[in-house]
Assembly symmetry: C2
Homo-oligomer: 438 residues x 2
């Protein structure tokens, strides 16, 4: 494989074909045939990784679980095989460096995450993480020495609210550390479990100027690219997000002996609220979304009127004003439904992220990289949250999307075609090279 | 205590006051001052029993759990102390006999259950079970020898669908035995655990004529008696019940990247259904009730559109035609909501019971007993299901209700005043004596 790759690169160097689209930033003088990653190797890693945390209901590598630890061990091996001596920072993020030739340059940071949601798929996170490792490995194998160091990063606990990357920009509070993750462990316990050290969290913080730029490859998780028949999405920005935990308190009573007009049914109130939230966000034009994803009922027994229901709302939009508007509207709906059903609604905001814009120059490098590879592309927003939204606070940020089959994600049926995974990694590789040239 | 009770009874025998209301069945010639149980002793048992299965969220003696086993051990001790050598039948029901003087007479059967719902109270079941033990103990201590044997019974797993009493009337199928109870064990495993033997279930079956009559004291679990300021409810019948498990299947997808108009949200569909069920049963006059008591969401994660929701509906009414009508209506609502939300609804009937009427003669004995004790009373239906509804299929049945404070039941706040517990047991005692005289 090594020899073939070397020959391939040599041939590419010799060919020097014309670029199919102009690079927006890299000087044309250095233009040459685009490098390519070893797509078969990259897809082989993903195929093997599919066995880690696989359950009958999907991939379950939720942060700090046994399967997450197994996934991280698998990933650490890939770092080592790539010659990237990995280190784990105080937040549990995994870093590996490919040294550059110019010691004055700050690193180009690339990566993603390997933890999953409950009952999720194998592509959300691993595609970008493994592609970043493959990009560094390709640069090393092809003896392409960049001026900048390339830092590959795998963020810890992305799905629980971009915890690892929030730590990396210094945005985690002691109260955040005490929150309980899906695994049942607190963030504090979880970070220790994956090899971090919350007492030294400040050492994990990256400040403005510490990083040349941050780029992340990710599956789209929606169906726009597939519908448009395009290969690459150039992300313009990531929507802002607000999570609510809504506790509806009624009164538990006998389901047979309590007349309908004497009930304080927390389930009925919660159901009315879930319907009203959906009606509210769909009643006005726009791309805003709201989801009631969790519902925990107490006592959750067939013949008892529920006394309490905890439900979550996930609200997203690119416009902070819209998020504020719907927050107010949901709280008002809770008060109205509570008054009508003899229940009370308590709202708690658990996770929050501001909309984040991609850097125009980084978008340009990504676009030019895709163009040089002959890949069709479009600019688009990201409806999903990503570690990149945190990094955007301290560095120029860009993201590359590859198509999700059927627009399906956070599901066992999540799938991205191997050729699209390879294309995405190729775009990342050449965008890193473009970034190095500035 | 024993001596005082003896003196009290002797005095009662000497007084022979006039009855305050005519007995409907017992010959007036045998009328005498009503006996009374030892109410302090009975309430003392209940107070001690409150510690068994008590958790921060309520009483949790769900059938076949560790706490249920502890509750049954406590109850077996009460049988032994009362001189009722207990035996456990093949269905796990506990029986103890007070012998009668006439060997040709079939037993008068009295009892209830000691298992609880999840997060329930201490009175639903134990009041009637312990009162039955106390009635037998009082008859023995007071040397009142009845012609009929008195069998005290504590049915197993009432809250999981009157399982023990269904076994006792031969209405449990092998498929029923494979169902999983709230404890996580199958009924089959649970019966073995509590000392039964499913291979010998036929030995536990009572047939028409095997029992002279069945009487059960129970808390009302509603607020009618308290509101009317009455002491005793004479139950006319028990509503029929139908339980559904409804599985709503949509498609799990990313809560951020999936536009609102491209979702197949099982939670939204389930919420619309819960609201529609409530609207349906409250849209026509009558005492019918329907409750969505359980909801289990998959994957139940904040940032994933739920792919599947399992919910339960508990439907009850005295009229079988109404139950059939609402069954059809709920299934139609499921089809309509499914079509509108891109989801499918699958209905499974898990538990079913026909409405059961109390026997007029037994009602008469209970009414006369209450009257002889000077206790105010009314006839009323039972909205809750009880083991008595099963026994009604093979024997004349009657039930005695005592007030539930605030109409609250299946809740940690379930409470019945000690004097009402004692009154209920007194009514049961004298109804047994009346039944013996026929």
């Amino acid at each position: 494989m090594k020899r073939r790759a070397f020959l391939r690169h040599s041939a590419a160097l010799a060919a020097l074909p014309l670029l199919r689209a102009p690079l927006s930033a890299a000087p044309l003088a250095t233009a040459r045939a685009p490098l390519r990653v070893n797509g078969a190797r990259l897809n082989g890693w993903l195929a093997r990784f599919d066995a880690v945390g696989r359950t009958p209901t999907g991939i379950n590598r939720t942060a700090y679980s046994e399967a997450d630890l197994a996934g991280r061990a698998f990933t650490l091996d890939l770092f080592r095989e790539a010659g990237l001596a990995p280190r784990i920072d105080a937040a549990g993020n995994i870093y590996g460096r490919l040294e550059g030739s110019d010691r004055t340059r700050k690193p180009i940071l690339i990566g993603s995450h390997v933890d999953s949601v409950t009952d999720g798929g194998n592509f959300d996170g691993p595609v970008g993480s493994f592609a970043a490792i493959e990009v560094a490995r390709t640069l090393r194998e092809q003896r392409v020495r960049l001026r900048h160091p390339v830092d590959v990063v795998v963020w810890s606990n992305e799905e629980g609210g971009t915890i690892g990357s929030k730590c990396a920009i210094g945005e985690i509070t002691p109260a955040d550390l005490d929150k309980v993750a899906r695994s049942g462990k607190t963030i504090r316990e979880g970070i220790a479990l994956v090899g971090g050290d919350v007492a030294r969290l400040s050492e994990a913080v990256l400040r403005k100027g510490d990083v040349a730029c941050y780029m992340e490859l990710h599956i789209e998780q929606g169906g726009l690219l597939e519908k448009a028949g395009l290969r690459i999405g150039v992300v313009q920005g990531i929507v802002g997000l607000r999570w609510f935990e809504v506790t509806v308190t009624g009164f538990a009573n006998h389901a047979g002996a309590t007349p309908m007009d004497q009930r304080q049914d927390a389930m009925l109130a919660a159901a009315k609220f879930a319907v009203a939230v959906n009606e509210a966000v769909t009643s006005v034009p726009g791309r805003q979304v709201a989801t009631v994803g969790r519902m925990n009922v107490t006592p959750n027994t067939t013949n008892v009127i529920p006394g309490q229901v905890m439900l979550t709302v996930d609200l997203r939009d690119l416009d902070p004003a819209k998020i504020a508007h719907f927050t107010e509207r949901f709280e008002r709906l809770g008060r109205e439904i509570g008054a009508a059903t003899g229940t009370t609604f308590a709202f708690k905001r658990t996770v929050e992220s501001e909309p984040a814009s991609a850097d125009p120059q980084v978008m340009g490098w990504i676009e030019a990289s895709a163009a040089s590879l002959g890949l069709t592309r479009q600019r688009m927003p990201s409806g999903a949250g990503h570690d990149a939204q945190e990094l955007a606070r301290i560095a120029p940020m860009g993201m590359i999307f590859v198509p999700s089959v059927g627009g399906i994600s956070h599901s066992p049926r999540e799938f991205t075609k191997p050729e699209d995974v390879a294309h995405g990694a190729d775009v990342l590789l050449n965008a890193v090279i473009a970034a190095d040239r500035r």
